[in-house]
């Protein structure tokens, strides 16, 4: 006699429970602590007499029922010598192979391929099989259809050929997304194949990448089991990542990290210009330690704009090189369409003082600069009437993402404002009897973001003497960002294309207000001049797999993922960008079973995998071979157990009644 699920025989140990219960029932009476007896009245005490024989009978019946149930669950059967036929149950299996940057570690690919082949040998030619790889997302290599399309005897050899061609990439792994994608695909195919359960076998070095947390928000298909095969990899791997490059002072700050799992402590950090080592720094980093280091880039030739930083001394080289580009020091340009009038102390006068005191701001009063495509202004300020010819480049500038500040100094500018805004406005002059105060500010708008903290929100110390009241159309797209008394809009904004038009109906010049003399003026102007760059993607450094790199390098370029320097066209200019490994790929902590289980993955552990497979094989034989005898033994056992339990209930009821009568 054999058992399909011999493990259930352990259940026979449960007969200890009734034995124990029968023993403790000998206690004369239960004691029960209750909160208060206030609402209780006593009952007459019962005296229990029990016959030993009756109890033994009950105990025997209960124990027998448990044994029969345990045997039924163990599924006993008799097997003949003849082997099972070919009607095996077809398993649905997907191999999901990690090909992220950390899989570039030494020997990992060899171990991975060996493991894949070993597991592939356990797959039957008649099974449904699928092979996928994952980095940031998962990609199909061999789908179910391709597998089924090959002649049965060639299937495994075809897959092995593909396995040998596997090559890891440079992107960071996003396990959560990839697992979810794969599980979803597997679950969908399960219906198609009429299967009950599918196995998702994951082959990974266990390096977490972006982590598994997102799986929590996904309801994992109940029919998809997860089997994780961890590929052992070297843990002695220090990494270097970029913190900051200060172009003005020509300094670079990097972070060097030695993971807690590492055993190597002596490292060298090198600043390299191409192949030439310009500077070298020895470092002793205990496992788990992080250190920041600043290299002086003045040691590089002045014309050099790109360099690398290299770690040596650790065993793994895949993440040892950091590619860096020194950004160009650029001034933020502001084009002022008006005249500089120092005597009048108007808006331009204060703005000019501000620009002169800052090295990063450059103010120009040359209107032609706007038409010059080489001059990329951060902001255009208008405080005079515009000609029709001037309107077009301003609109184009705003459409392209620029910020236009319109200082509405008098009602005569209404036509120019209409021209820029593209809608009708009616402007009237308003003079305060004494002064206006500012209220109703929209702190959620970027212009007032520097003042969002409670302590900076008080604008009641700024007096406004006069303003222009703008009456807008009913369906206007202008929104008010701040108001003066009597509901007069003080600051208006309107999106134009990618950019924005800001209209100040009372400005900071001394004719209008005392804003320029207030401490809020500088953060206010700073918000204005940095606004147009806030959404621009002028990054120089990207992580491997960043889709923006592909976009910059052009659709046909498939390089861009490997760390290095790349040239790309920005208009007529050729610029450079640097691609580095995601720092997440250098972390050496290996995910354990508990980490997968924590996010709700139904994990089949390695320890039970062997028996799981064996029993699956045996159960297939038992379920499908016509030669196996006595298929229904378990049913008879269960029926007998139920009958015994019914009899036990009768006997127990009678016993209880007898006891009550005795009382």
């Amino acid at each position: 006699m054999s058992f399909l699920s011999a493990l259930y025989l352990i259940g026979t140990a449960a007969i200890a429970a009734p034995i124990f219960i029968h023993m403790i029932r000998r206690a004369p009476r239960d004691n029960f602590k209750f909160s208060t007896l206030r609402f209780l009245s006593s009952s007459p005490e019962t005296v229990s007499k029990r016959s030993k024989i009756q109890h033994w009978l009950l105990l025997f019946m209960r124990a027998l029922a448990i044994i029969l149930i345990a045997f039924a669950f163990a599924r006993p059967y008799f097997v003949s010598e003849e082997k099972a036929g070919e009607k095996d149950k077809r398993a649905v299996v997907m191999f999901l192979v990690d090909q992220s940057a950390s899989m570039n570690r030494a020997e990992v690919q060899d171990k991975l391929k060996a493991k894949l082949e070993e597991r592939l040998d356990r797959i039957k030619n008649s099974d449904f099989f699928n092979l996928r790889t994952f980095r940031s997302i998962s990609h199909g290599l061999i789908d179910f259809k391709t597998w089924a399309g090959w002649p049965a005897e060639e299937r495994k050899s075809q897959v092995k050929q593909r396995i040998q061609k596997l090559k890891s990439g440079w992107e960071a792994s996003d396990m959560a997304v990839s697992f979810v994608q794969s599980a979803d695909a597997l679950d969908r195919h399960l219906d198609e194949f009429g299967g009950e359960v599918a196995d998702l076998e994951i082959f990974t070095d266990g390096q977490a990448g972006k982590g598994l947390d997102e799986i929590r928000s996904f309801s994992w298909p109940k029919r998809v089991n997860v089997i994780v095969h961890n590929i052992e990899a070297n843990q002695n791997n220090a990494s270097v990542s970029l913190v900051d490059i200060n172009a003005e002072n020509r300094q670079v700050k990097v972070k060097v990290e030695n993971p807690a799992e590492s055993k190597e402590v002596s490292l060298w950090l090198e600043l390299q210009n191409g192949e030439i080592i310009v500077d070298k720094e020895p470092m002793v980093l205990e496992p788990g330690q992080v250190r920041f280091h600043v290299f002086d880039l003045k040691k590089l030739p002045a014309q050099v704009s790109q360099f690398t930083i290299q770690i040596s001394g650790d065993s793994e080289s895949y993440d040892n090189k950091l590619y860096c580009i020194i950004p160009k020091v650029k001034k933020k340009k502001v084009i002022w369409l008006g005249k500089l009038d120092k005597a009048q102390k108007s808006d331009d006068f204060y703005f000019n003082i501000l620009c002169e005191s800052r090295t990063d701001l450059e103010l120009t009063f040359d209107a032609k600069a706007l038409e010059d495509s080489k001059v990329k202004a951060e902001m255009v300020v208008i405080d005079r009437a515009l000609s029709q010819e001037e309107l077009a480049p301003i609109k184009e500038y705003a459409q392209d993402g620029g910020t236009v500040l319109f200082l509405l100094k008098n009602k005569d500018l209404s036509l120019s404002l209409e021209g820029v805004a593209g809608e009708k406005v009616h402007v009237t002059e308003v003079k305060a009897p004494d002064y206006f105060l500012l209220s109703g500010l929209r702190f959620e708008h970027w212009l007032f973001q520097p003042f969002v903290e409670s302590k900076f929100k008080d604008f009641s110390t700024i007096y406004f003497w006069q303003a222009r009241k703008v009456v807008l159309e009913e369906n206007t797209k202008f929104q008010s960002l701040a108001k003066l008394d009597d509901d007069i809009p003080a600051v208006l904004s309107k999106p134009i294309g990618k950019g924005e038009l800001i209209v100040m109906n009372s400005s900071w010049g001394k004719e209008d207000s005392q804003l320029a003399l207030n401490s809020k003026f500088i953060p206010f102007v700073n918000a204005l001049v940095t606004a147009s760059t806030r959404n621009k993607e002028n990054l120089l450094h990207y992580s491997s797999g960043d889709p923006r790199v592909q976009k910059l390098l052009g659709k046909d370029s498939k390089k861009g993922n490997a760390p290095g320097f790349y040239d790309f066209k920005d208009g007529e200019e050729t610029r450079q960008l640097a691609v580095n490994l995601s720092p997440a790929e250098s972390k050496m902590k290996v995910l354990e079973n508990v980490d997968y289980e924590k996010v709700g993955l139904p994990l089949v552990k390695q320890s039970v995998l062997a028996s799981h497979e064996k029993s699956r094989y045996e159960s297939e034989i038992a379920a499908h071979s016509g030669e196996i005898k006595n298929q229904g033994i378990w049913r008879y056992l269960l029926i007998t157990a139920i009958l015994i339990l019914l009899a036990e209930s009768l006997v127990a009821h009678k016993t209880h009644k007898k006891m009550e009568q005795a009382v």
Partner: protein, 304 residues
């Protein structure tokens, strides 16, 4: 519906069994409050407390209390100071920690549940920058903490919950009398008790507190077994407070017991209705979010 949405919905009610397995009241309170607030948006209404939001020109009907007189003196304008959070509530928790509250049939005692409820309210009030105090009692006063709103005070509050009573009977009258004397300033009183006691003088004492201007909410915390006496086996019952023993066959006395406890609770409810107190009966298997929601509803009602 997306699985994210489902998760959010699940978080609305924290599994009480899992929650009570946590040892720290701090953590329990945080979980309940955070789960309750999850998905709620910050109130768009401006209140009147510490964080300045902005000035608003005064219009007829605005509360003159919030007029900024300094600004008026400086500018000759009427402006209202607006704030980000809501007004301060002074909340005192009267917590019964007598021995009867130690009754435990579903895995955690009434006292444990009551302390978690008190910690939850304190944590919530702390987040609102309201002040909260504690008076725990059995037949005497065990611990008194004046109402404050600092973080350090929250720690003291949580530590005070650890102190349990040993007295043979619970006597709420002492605590109520003491409250009348101690809490001279109007505020919100939250009484958490099983109320398994004589109700003779309760109405009188609660009346004094109401007359002093306090708003009161009473949470009666009971074990489910205390309501339904759902036991099968006869046993020797021992009173947890007096130690008195009595042989009880639950199946025989169940109906009578249920009638008695129902009458007792009805009487309690009538007292609360007469004195204008919000009465909320809870069993220890109800998620604490529910209690917090009741508390908030009541507070809103008080405000109106």
């Amino acid at each position: 519906m997306s699985s994210q949405g489902q998760n959010n919905r699940l978080h609305k009610f924290i599994d009480i069994e899992t929650l009570m397995q946590l040892k720290s009241y701090d953590l329990r309170a945080k979980i309940v409050v955070d789960s309750y607030l999850n998905g709620l948006h910050r109130s768009p209404y401006h209140g009147y407390s510490s964080r300045f939001s902005e000035y608003k020109p005064y219009v007829e009907g605005d509360d003159l209390r919030y007029l900024d007189w300094k600004l008026y003196a400086r500018s000759d304008r009427y402006y209202i100071r607006k704030y980000e959070s809501e007004s301060n509530v002074k909340c005192q928790v009267l917590l019964d920690l007598s021995l009867s509250m130690e009754f435990n049939h579903i895995g955690w005692s009434k006292a444990d549940y009551a302390c978690t409820l008190a910690a939850t309210l304190a944590y919530f009030l702390y987040g609102q920058r309201d002040s909260f105090g504690l008076m725990s009692f059995d037949d005497d006063i065990l611990e008194v903490l004046p109402a404050k709103s600092r973080r350090g005070h929250l720690n003291h509050f949580l530590a005070a919950l650890e102190k349990r009573g040993k007295s043979e009977q619970s006597q709420i009258a002492t605590a109520l009398k003491q409250s009348v004397e101690v809490y001279s300033q109007r505020g919100l009183l939250v009484i958490i008790s099983d109320m398994m006691m004589d109700l003779d003088q309760l109405e009188e004492h609660l009346g004094y507190l109401r007359a002093a201007g306090h708003e009161i909410i009473l949470f009666q915390v009971l074990d489910p077994l205390e309501l339904n006496m759902d036991l099968e086996k006869p046993a020797l019952f021992e009173d947890m407070e007096s130690g008195e023993k009595m042989f009880i066959n639950p199946s025989v006395i169940r109906d009578e017991y249920q009638a008695k406890i129902k009458d007792h609770n009805k009487a309690l409810q009538a007292i609360c209705e007469n004195t204008g107190i919000l009465y909320q009966s809870m069993t220890t298997d109800i998620p604490l979010n529910v209690a917090l929601a009741d508390f908030l509803r009541f507070r809103e009602k008080v405000r109106k």
